[in-house]
Subunit: 491 residues, 2 copies
Amino acid sequence: MAKLTSRSEDYSKWYNELVVKADLAENSGVRGSMVIKPYGYAIWEKMRDEMDRKFKETGHVNAYFPLFVPKSLFEAEEKNAEGFAKECAVVTHYRLKNDPDNPGKLIVDPEAKLEEELIVRPTSEAIIWNTYKGWIQSYRDLPILINQWANVVRWEMRTRLFLRTSEFLWQEGHTAHATKDEAVEEAEKMNNVYADFAENFMAMPVVQGLKTPSERFAGADETYCIEALMQDGKALQAGTSHFLGQNFAKAFDVKFTNKEGKIEHAWATSWGTSTRLMGALIMTHSDDFGLVLPPTLAPIQVVIVPIFKGEEQLNQISEVALEIQNKLKLKGISVKFDNDTQNKPGWKFAEYELKGVPLRIAMGPRDLENKSVEIARRDNLTKETRPLEGLDSYIEDLLKTIQKDMYTKAFEFRKDNITKVNSYDEFKKVLEEKPGFIYAHWDGTAEEEEQIKEETKATIRCIPLDDDVEEGVSLISGKPSKRRVLFAKAY
Amino acid sequence: MAKLTSRSEDYSKWYNELVVKADLAENSGVRGSMVIKPYGYAIWEKMRDEMDRKFKETGHVNAYFPLFVPKSLFEAEEKNAEGFAKECAVVTHYRLKNDPDNPGKLIVDPEAKLEEELIVRPTSEAIIWNTYKGWIQSYRDLPILINQWANVVRWEMRTRLFLRTSEFLWQEGHTAHATKDEAVEEAEKMNNVYADFAENFMAMPVVQGLKTPSERFAGADETYCIEALMQDGKALQAGTSHFLGQNFAKAFDVKFTNKEGKIEHAWATSWGTSTRLMGALIMTHSDDFGLVLPPTLAPIQVVIVPIFKGEEQLNQISEVALEIQNKLKLKGISVKFDNDTQNKPGWKFAEYELKGVPLRIAMGPRDLENKSVEIARRDNLTKETRPLEGLDSYIEDLLKTIQKDMYTKAFEFRKDNITKVNSYDEFKKVLEEKPGFIYAHWDGTAEEEEQIKEETKATIRCIPLDDDVEEGVSLISGKPSKRRVLFAKAY
């Protein structure tokens, strides 16, 4: 197996190679659409199941709304429509027919033209609020707390596996509330759920914050987000939660009678995370040998590799290995015993490193004699010899340790790559020499934000929600600023 | 709440009303597409999770393939293309723009016309076999055992909630094998998995069989199916499993080197079930009061309704009810305690009957005194008084009994509605007077099959796979037949 391009050599190439070689995903025959391969999908399933559990725990239920949005609904909320009109797939016909000029070929049947074009959903606010209209009459019908797992399509011109694809999988929460406060609280709550998931499940530290008006979701009054820092110093928006005000309720005429008997428009939120998180996971933890997966997300948590000459040795080792496997399974740990005889141990070691299996247990004749095994950690590449006795508990604890250590490592990396700067020159210098998160003062105007973006390609990732408030003057205009905001180049 | 139309009055109307009133689904603003509401989706999630477990248990893994199929791939397997060309949604453009004549409105941007049209997948054989081409070189790459959970679109002219919708949710398994025998075995195995799921999880008896050539999936060499009988005597195809031969491997040039070093085309299967199963579930068990759900699929298995006057009584009852709830939850039973004070017990009784909750526990002051509760079964509408002591174990057993009884009831119904007929006159008479499954002889020709369909609207649902073989002569042509086949009018 050819080695991966190293990260220092070409980070972008390393990423693309890794996604394909680790069997996570590949480009398809459809422009900009990916195939998520079984190993990649198994990781996504684990993300999905954990998020789904968290959504249900916070009172949400799942439902399913149509893939197609009629153009008249799509354009109802003007800002939202404007934001997505330039990148949407449009269904115009509902039938093909035989091509009279080319036997065996098909052409669009011009007689099967739709009266109204259908947009393949890039997001579902329009179709969902058009539905909520029928569900909401009284404050007693509120709140509505619904989530949907679905595919969406945004016609991206430049695509990259997981990070930016024309079709992607995601979840989108859509809630309706009787009061503004309740909706704002919901948007904040779900951003917290995302942060909790990212940090405790993906072992990926995130900064929670608010988007600036120019970076908000099209149609939102406020966008909350979680921002993560990748190994190459670029930021990745890992999840967003929007307070939509009454914009969609007004566009779709969703009114209810409140407790006081007055009629008003409902308040809305929406929030989403997508298969983009797979990209974030890869670029937070992986190394030049391949994937590094936190135990919580690893489809295989432990692999046992026998080292043997001949069938008799394999049989002896297998007996012990299967016992270890059973004990670990009882603890809910997923274990693969790789007794394949075609591939050499060295090949297997490299393969499971590439696939990011958190722990590898190797066992040879001498281990058999000593009643021990060799354990190798994927995250820090250390090895140790451990006795068979108590191995299952040891491994159970070790997996927890790995999870923590991976978070700590990523957290330390981020700490080392956040720089506070006080002048525009310094800002540009840091971006050049040590890219990462930059905390700097901003005057609050779209003009300054735009100028910085134009000149440096760095954007305001968010206005952090933490308490680290410090007054100063903004980078370019020199106007007063009440707190630093988070800049970075971003995926 | 207005009562449901009764089944005897108008079965079709009863079905449509029930789906909407029980909050399962509703029609959307998109022609032929439905909204699956949270309660309906919760039932579908249970179906999905159980099937997914069974697929994984039989060695399958999940993956995800693109929604869009480029026209050139779509038309590659001719029979498959022909089968779906007349009902497919076609994406022709990738952008909207502002309508210069109507401010605030959007139109399709003619400059954003796709070079090649994209078909919204009606099924994924084409896109998947185009992908498998890159995955299969040697017999060592086989078998590939993949399943996908996805949405698909078939442009149906006449739609009905769950039974026939333009967009629906489904799973589609797509496997590749080195030999014909292995592929046939896979197709049979998955049909068995479907039958097992239908009978043991949905409490719905099914007949396993083979489709006639004219009823086969477009592109299949053989289609296995499970057929269920609805309460109105119509059949419903609940799942299909196809042996695809080498048709797709040839269309997409998927070849591999076999063990003997020779190059040959791979063998394929595909198999699917969809949200149509929701319709089957409803029409197998439900009654004039509403849904009847088997305990395995009920989002709420037990509801506790307090019967009280005043807050003090409610508090007393609540104490006991919460204890019951906790004990049942420990046994993995989902329980709702409905202590809402707005709605009267009678209203609640009707509501949970409509929603098909398998068991209702009612508790009033006298029950409190007697340390007892009233238990009502949804399936057979019987009631009994039971002591609090040992209630949790009693209910656990009772839920299993209900599951069995529901299957038995449906099985008995089917037995009573299978008629063996030996002449065409008898056939037509039975269809008229007592519609259901009809076992009759067929001469094996498409002509006789077509004539019967034309004249009676009954189709051959399947050639059963059971051992009940009995020779005879066919209905119209009078030619010899080796076994009876299963006829019915169908959904």
